[in-house]
């Protein structure tokens, strides 16, 4: 794979899935739409190819497994593959032989210098500052997420199969997180999910963290019945990860896309939230309050609809809200209802449709 090792999310080159992976290309699309997306860059598949010299060797223990290998054996082979990958890079780095990681550090520095909206400065202490590769007090906290080429495609979501690292501060920590993402190609669950397909080259997205007051997920249709005029979202106080992993009960909202009206509102009791320092209690007074305002819901709807229209298909995605408003963290094609046939009309003329209604022909579909 040839091409630049690092591209900014807004760079036209970031449109190419083969180079930046599904998530990276998706984020580029959002930036190009003018959506508010946390600033960041992609460590490309070309960078992966340059840094990981012989992926076939790394995969060897996995390929040696029989199709019906027990889970424990898969776990072990995957661990071997991960170790092979990180060891190879570490020893190369020790020789000063991984220019790709230098490019990652440089890109992080550039990101730190740019005054991006919604950015969150690292909480890194002064004691950690000083060394060229170490974090300084002014370094931005970033999220480092894998972006496999096959990930987030319309036919398979790969949701959560590869690793993500939140709140990473400092150039070295970022470089380590990128390597860890690469290694997550060889976790047992990722291997299982690929079902024998070889691991593709992996890109990694690095983005500023949003100081999320609330965060959540949305879908531009109603997952319960496929209604495409309904927009649903779920949200919690703080960062969105506990929601995505299913650990907490979120607030649930449903909006009519066309009127913008909030047609359903289920406010959950939310005693805790994930903050930068980990799980923390929510002040008593806020536990039973909706974590999104109507204005924020309206903005989210507007963004979601714009993404859906541009993509020409229903989307689901993740977002975070801070003082600047709604930030879009991710959007990808919805994979369940989008693949079902959805023609509802019986007959091709109004009269045929009337006859189908009166003879119950339209009820077959139920």
């Amino acid at each position: 794979m040839s091409g630049p090792w690092v591209v900014a999310l807004g760079d036209p080159a970031a449109a190419e899935v083969g180079l930046v992976g599904g998530k990276g290309a998706g984020l580029h699309r959002l930036v190009a739409l003018g959506a508010r997306v946390p600033a960041g860059f992609v460590v490309t598949t070309a960078a992966f190819a340059a840094a990981v010299a012989a992926p076939e060797e790394i995969e060897a223990p996995l390929r040696a497994l029989p199709a019906d290998a027990p889970v424990a054996a898969v776990e072990e082979a995957a661990a071997q593959a991960r170790a092979a990958l990180t060891d190879a890079i570490r020893s190369a780095a020790a020789r000063g032989d991984v220019p790709v990681l230098d490019a990652v550090r440089a890109a992080y520095r550039e990101l730190a210098d740019s005054a991006g909206p919604g950015g969150q400065r690292g909480a890194g202490s002064g004691a950690a500052g000083g060394g060229a590769g170490l974090g300084t007090a002014g370094d931005p906290a970033v999220a480092v997420r894998s972006s496999a080429a096959a990930e987030d495609a319309a036919d398979a979501s790969y949701a959560g199969e590869h690793d993500s690292y939140l709140d990473v501060v400092g150039p070295d920590a970022v470089a380590d997180a990128v390597v860890a993402c690469w290694a997550s190609l060889y976790t047992a669950r990722a291997v299982a999910y690929r079902r024998g397909r070889p691991a593709g080259p992996m890109a990694v997205v690095v983005q500023r963290m949003v100081a999320a007051r609330a965060a959540g997920v949305f879908m531009t249709l109603n997952p319960a019945n496929g209604d495409r005029a309904t927009f649903v979202c779920e949200a919690v106080w703080g960062l969105g990860e506990p929601l995505v992993s299913g650990a907490v009960t979120p607030d649930r909202f449903a909006l009519n896309k066309i009127s913008g009206e909030v047609v359903r509102r289920e406010i959950a009791h939310k005693p805790t939230r994930l903050g930068r320092a980990g799980t923390e209690p929510v002040p008593d007074a806020e536990r039973d309050l909706p974590c999104l305002t109507d204005d924020e819901l309206a903005e989210l709807l507007r963004i979601g609809r714009a993404v859906e229209t541009a993509a020409g298909a229903p989307q689901d995605g993740e977002f975070a809200v801070d003082d600047d408003g709604v930030h879009l963290l991710q959007a990808r094609p919805e994979t369940v209802w989008s693949q079902r046939p959805r023609t509802v009309a019986r007959g091709r003329t109004a009269l045929e449709a009337v006859l189908a209604t009166l003879t119950g022909g339209d009820r077959d579909a139920d």
Binding site: D227, T230, A350, V354, L358
Partner: protein, 606 residues
């Protein structure tokens, strides 16, 4: 013990004091032993939508008109595939109905016929409707031109010199027949377009529901309606009169009865100009019936023109809003733009293959919807108002002739008996002899007045007989708002006799307040701010009350009923289609109305 069926019509006792009620109605309208086997198998529900109250014998004609016409057009003329007519029975003075399904085996063949026949109408809809309006309005003019005067001692000379060739007595017989058969004919026309119109509307409705399961009925109707139809004209005229009052600087006061106010106003030039405007406007635009629910169903409800305090209150409300700087005009252009925007956006969200048929079905639905809305003005308001007005004119003539003690007595006679009374009266007049007259009718009327009062006190069962496993006949669901779950609730209510009434959530919100039961437009004056209005149904002609109340609970109606629509506009909760709120709740009781859940909870007794 949960019951699984409603009582048999043959087990319903006659209320005390109502013995002999059967003589008030036509024998073919009653449950009878000859067809007991058939009728006991059927599911009957009280038709509170059209006939929420006890029927006067004369008013039975209202039921007969639609009983026959709806049936013939569905069953015999258009071959409506799934549905024959709607059968009727009168029990203890209340109307019960049951939709008659077409035999399932016939549906396919009927569909083929329906396609040809209704298709012919759909293709030519606008032209047919234009002709339709002409014939209905011509007949309306004809009915209004009829005169029922006491018969003269000596016929005017014109009878001779203009070679009229008939007597005034004969003309009374003839004109009464014409009055009655005109309503029969009007109902032929009513159903000439109505059910095929509903079928087209339902089709668009169903298409939207299957593509967008979350879509509200209200949204669907917004895509279809919003046209500048004549049905809105009475309200538009009220607004115009409000603006005229403002322009002329005429003070309409706050509570002065209309008659007194008009007398005062005519003393000034501007006031007189405004009153003259009102009087010109009143015919035809205030010929609007005030029945709760379906207009025109009974002779007892006045029109706006006959009860001018009602429209006057509405004009005052508009003046108040104008004084507050509010816009009161219906923003027709905005409504139309919004209607096209909503339809366009839903269209874009449809599967591409569905869009052409969506377009065609929407176009057809919009075309028929004009009729669905406007026929209410032409028939339910204007034709029935004319019919009741002419019937009352006749009743005054008969009373003046001594055929009856007082005009209202006529409404305690069946229409066949009225024809008999006319003949008796006419023959006595013609011969210069004596009719049997009031002496004959007096004991009959006296008995029936007593029976009528006893029937009024009877709380009708919401339904009779075995409930269907599923209520899915499209017209029943759409027109009466009766669904499988409402029927289930009725059965439950039978068991619980409880403190919670259930209906359909017509407009969201929760409020508590005191009940105010209103069954007649004349009682609206007693409504206090913050009351929970409990009524058989509301009517557009009740408009002024909505700015005073906290919530509405109705016996009949679905989510598209007038009550539900108006309450959503006013942002107040409504529970519609409860079945029996009017008879269960009493003025003064405190209730909690939950318009989202569709429940009314009795909080305490006062």
């Amino acid at each position: 013990m949960p019951t699984d069926r409603f009582p048999s019509p043959f087990d319903i006792a006659t209320p005390e004091g109502a013995e002999g009620w059967e003589s008030m109605y036509d024998w073919y309208h009653l449950f009878g032993p000859e067809r007991r086997e058939l009728d006991e198998q059927r599911f009957w529900f009280a038709d509170r939508l059209h006939h929420p109250d006890v029927l006067h014998p004369y008013d039975e004609i209202q039921c007969e008109c639609w009983w026959q016409a709806l049936g013939a057009f569905n069953t015999r003329i258009f071959a409506m595939p799934p549905a024959y007519g709607v059968d009727q029975r009168i029990l203890n003075g209340r109307l019960y109905v049951t939709p008659v399904p077409a035999p399932p085996g016939d549906v396919a063949a009927r569909a083929e016929e329906f396609g040809k026949r209704a298709g012919h109408y759909y293709e030519r809809w606008d032209a047919i409707y234009a002709e339709w309006k002409e014939k209905v309005l011509a007949r309306l003019a004809e009915l209004r031109a009829l005169r029922f005067d006491p018969l003269p001692d000596l016929e005017p000379e014109s009878t001779v010199y203009e070679h009229v060739g008939t007597s005034a007595g004969f003309r009374m017989i003839r004109d009464f027949n014409h009055l009655v058969t005109s309503m029969y004919e009007t109902y032929q026309w009513h159903f000439e377009l109505l059910n095929i119109g509903y079928a087209a509307y339902l089709t668009f409705f169903g298409m939207c529901k299957s593509a967008f399961p979350d879509i509200t009925d209200q949204t669907i109707s917004r895509m279809v309606g919003g046209l500048d139809v004549e049905l809105y004209r009475p309200d538009d005229e009220l607004k115009r009169l409000a603006k005229e009052a403002q322009r002329l600087g005429v003070d309409l006061g706050e509570d002065t009865p209309a008659a007194d106010l008009f007398a005062v106003l005519t003393k000034t030039d501007n006031g007189a100009e405004w009153v003259a405007d009102w009087e010109r406007t009143a015919d035809p635009w205030f010929v609007v019936n005030t029945d709760p629910g379906h207009p025109g169903g009974y002779h007892v409800h006045p029109t706006w023109a006959e009860a001018p305090d009602v429209p006057l209150a509405a004009v005052r409300e508009y003046v108040r809003r104008l004084d507050n700087g509010e816009a009161i005009d219906r923003p027709t252009d905005d409504v139309l733009r919004e209607r096209d925007r909503i339809a366009g956006e839903y269209r874009e969200l449809m599967a591409e293959d569905d869009r052409p048929v969506f377009d065609e079905t929407l176009e057809l639905a919009r075309k028929v919807f004009v009729y669905i809305e406007e026929h209410v003005l032409y028939i339910e308001h204007w034709m029935w108002a004319a019919f009741w007005a002419k019937s009352k004119e006749l009743s005054r003539a008969l009373a003046a002739m001594g055929e009856l003690d007082e005009p209202e007595d006529m409404f305690f006679l069946r229409r066949y008996e009225v024809a008999e009374a006319i003949y008796d009266c006419v023959v006595g007049w013609s011969v210069g002899s004596r009719s049997r007259g009031a002496d004959y009718w007096r004991p009959i009327v006296e008995t029936r007045r007593r029976i009528y009062d006893a029937l009024k006190a009877w709380e009708p069962e919401p339904a009779l007989g075995p409930p269907p496993a599923e209520v899915n006949e499209p017209f029943t669901v759409m027109l009466w708002g009766i669904t499988t779950s409402t029927v289930g609730e009725w059965l439950k209510a039978d068991d619980e006799g409880g403190k919670v009434l259930r209906g359909t959530g017509g407009a969201p919100g929760v409020v508590e307040g005191p009940v105010r039961v209103v069954t007649h437009v004349g009682e609206l004056g007693s409504v206090e701010p913050g009351d929970v209005l409990v009524c058989p149904a509301t009517s557009p002609s009740w408009a002024p009350v909505f700015s005073r109340i906290a919530a509405t609970v109705s016996d009949v109606g679905g989510i598209m009923s007038h009550t539900a629509i108006v309450c959503r506009e006013y942002g107040m909760p409504a529970v519609v289609g409860t079945g029996n709120a009017v008879s269960t709740l009493r003025t003064g009781q405190r209730v909690r109305v939950d318009g989202g859940a569709g429940t009314v909870t009795l909080l305490d007794e006062v």
